[in-house]
Amino acid sequence: MQQTCFHCGNNCEKNSVFYDKKNFCCNGCKTVYEIFSSNNLSCYYDLQSAPGAIPKEIEGKYDYLDNPAIIEKLVEFDDGKLQIVNLYIPHIHCSSCIWILENLHKLQPAIKNSQVDFPKKTIRINYNLEQYNLKEIVKLLNSIGYEPYISLNDYSKGKQQIDRSLIYKLGVAGFAFGNVMFLSFPEYFEVSEFWLEQYKHLFRWLMFGFSIPVVFYAAQEYFISAYKGLRSKILNIDVPISLGILVLFVRSFIEIFMDWGSGFFDSLTGLVFFLLLGKFFQQKTYSFLSFERDYKSYFPIAVTRLNFQKSKEENIQVYDIQQGDRLLIRNSELLPVDCILINGKAEIDYSFVTGESEMVHKNSGDKLFAGGKQLSGAIEVEALKSVEQSYLTQLWSNDIFNKNKEETFVNLTNHISKYFTYVVLAIAFTATAFWLFIDSSLAINVFTAVLIIACPCALALSTPFALGNMLRIFGRQKLYLKNATIIEKLAQVDTIIFDKTGTITTNNQREIEYEGIRLNEAEEALLKNTLRSSNHPLSRALYNFLAEQNIQTLDDFEEVTGNGIYATKAENSIRLGSAKFVGNTAEINTQDTAVHIQTNQTYKGKYVFHNQYRNDVERLFKELKKQYHIIILSGDNEGEKKRLQKLLPKNTQLLFNQKPEDKLNYIKALQQKGNKIAMIGDGLNDAGALAQSDVGISIAENVNVFSPACDAILEASNFSKIGSFFKASHQTINIIKSSFVLSFLYNVVGLYFAVTGQLSPIIAAILMPLSSISVLVYVTLLTNYRARKLFFKPKLKAYKG
């Protein structure tokens, strides 16, 4: 029977630990359990089953937290006795996490209190500085499996100001709306009753008082936006809205001042309240994700510098690295600057930075680029440049990173409102002209009534609610959008560009294929045993791929770094590694990733490593090909070209060896031809392309770790749903268009009352909320229905389309 770890829920394989009648997958998990149970915190496991994470080895990793200059930048408050720090912990994911992290004071009394912000995945810890310090806190958190993520970004950011103005405005509008409704209610029935006659003036002036902050505070953004639009000669949706609000307010004031009627304060406050509600609904943000990241959140905050004068290691801030500094890079640490390898064995993984899928072997004296990850032990390097001048970080000096994509985009509502405003103004003037001849006393009344009733409340509400709702649905499907306008942009896309490494391939798995003469049993056993002693990533992958063999002791074993391995056992000998190393001259120039095998001086064949493509890539591309132009831009070499061509539909454009700037420029060129482009990529090398494209989607195996700046983040497990996302955004736009028709119908009904001069406050008060709410219900139900069809019944959809 399959056993899962009591702490982290992973499968317990061979090395499971049995403790306290429970299974654990490793000693790390067992230790965390011990800490919790001995402190009476085992309730952690009752709230959610297997909520934990395996604690990682962090020996020396956080030594930089001894440096007071770095601590000073990280903490939020410090008075010498008390320190408050806010840490980002990616693992926070369930109620158990909140519970255990808020009970940290049980584990360490020096911690005064700790508070989790679940949506942001942060914890605020308040601790006594005399008994404890930041480094100990990070160690404590790590020991229970909650390692905080501290990056260069934390260092450079200042105090963030949270914008709460929308909540205030919504509060003001809601408060006024409620009170005005109460006050205006008695007059709805138009009964001439003694007490009502007595007090209605008081009621009216009170309503006037309540609506002042609504018009001048809560609605001010609409006026500002309309003004900005008019100045740049664009009739955006806020123009008719502001016009409506102003006319409502002025006419109502005149009405109560001249004692003609009760005014439209109820409609006015209601209108602003609903509009703000729409804005609030659309404003949904995924605060635990960041869409603005640059290399800073990928880079470490500090590195170890070797100081030869004092012959010791010291931790310095990465910005302080100077040319000529000797740095120590430990296993699985990042290279923060361009440098030269001095000492040690470097196996650098550049997949995230350049898109190359294989790790690169470097010898001392070779140049290393910033952003690579060292994978085999500690190395010593000499810095060539400072952080900002490194090759990788220079990409961010491109103009595109300072441009605001939103400004140039004209959304659907504004597109329509242009015509809408003209039509409304035309109707208003025609009707006024008409009434001037019939009954001039009613003319101004009709003019204002048209502007009031035509105020496009429903029109302005349908878009935010449809997009906001879709945004939430996408979020549930693991596609996190930066904001709701991205859906409109997705619907306009005609070209989709994919990156290869890490986007359509996974980095976790490899496909291995053998080509050549079959190996006999003795040879296979020898191969497996040779591989056992090697730590090279390809050896490890091949070792795991081959069938189990008995363990043998080799007579001779020699690993030639960067080339291959030579081993003997009894009368058999084996050489494996690069083509050159085994003496196969014919294949030296191919770009396949392969391990060549030679036994007893005869060449046998090779194990070819293919990139493992994501599930459903073939089907997805076939689906997309029908509607979109598809291009693959890869930073990798052409080794996989043939396989890709077989996998993808015909005429798919494939471009290899693309540098980050090449990708950016390629997209720019296409855009100049009028194409709307969605870029789907993952690494830092795609950052420029993601920023340049109309919609940049970043694929992440784990959305909590770094992903470059983009418009949307998609969790890799839902890669195959990309087609559905595009379809859903198309349908959302169609729903919005149909809701426009609905709101126009309401406007026509309202205009009938307005043009005929019959608009009374009660009709306005009924029509305004009715139209808004029915449009709201309409778009919400329809988007939910569409999404359900697309995402929950994929088979049904396949038959239909």
């Binding site: 402190n39 309730c43 909140i98 808020e102 709460r164 509060g171």
Partner: protein
């Protein structure tokens, strides 16, 4: 019939007091995170039930001595 003036005065004062309280609570950051408190409020009961205060205190103390 000045009662209605008094009543109106009271009702509007009450409304404005609540409004001010709302503004203050937003300012203090109560609306920045609207999810965590909903989970947190369920915890207190469990703590009392599963780990009586006396017990947990003594455990922590003994742990301190050990370390």
């Amino acid at each position: 019939m000045s009662a209605i003036y008094i009543l109106l005065g009271i009702s509007i004062t009450v409304a404005i007091v609540f409004f001010i309280v709302f503004i203050l609570s937003v300012r203090k950051g109560q609306y920045d995170d609207v999810y965590t408190p909903s989970v947190r409020m369920l915890f207190d009961d469990e703590l009392v039930e599963k780990s009586p205060k006396e017990k947990s205190k003594s455990r922590v103390l003994t742990k301190q001595k050990q370390s």
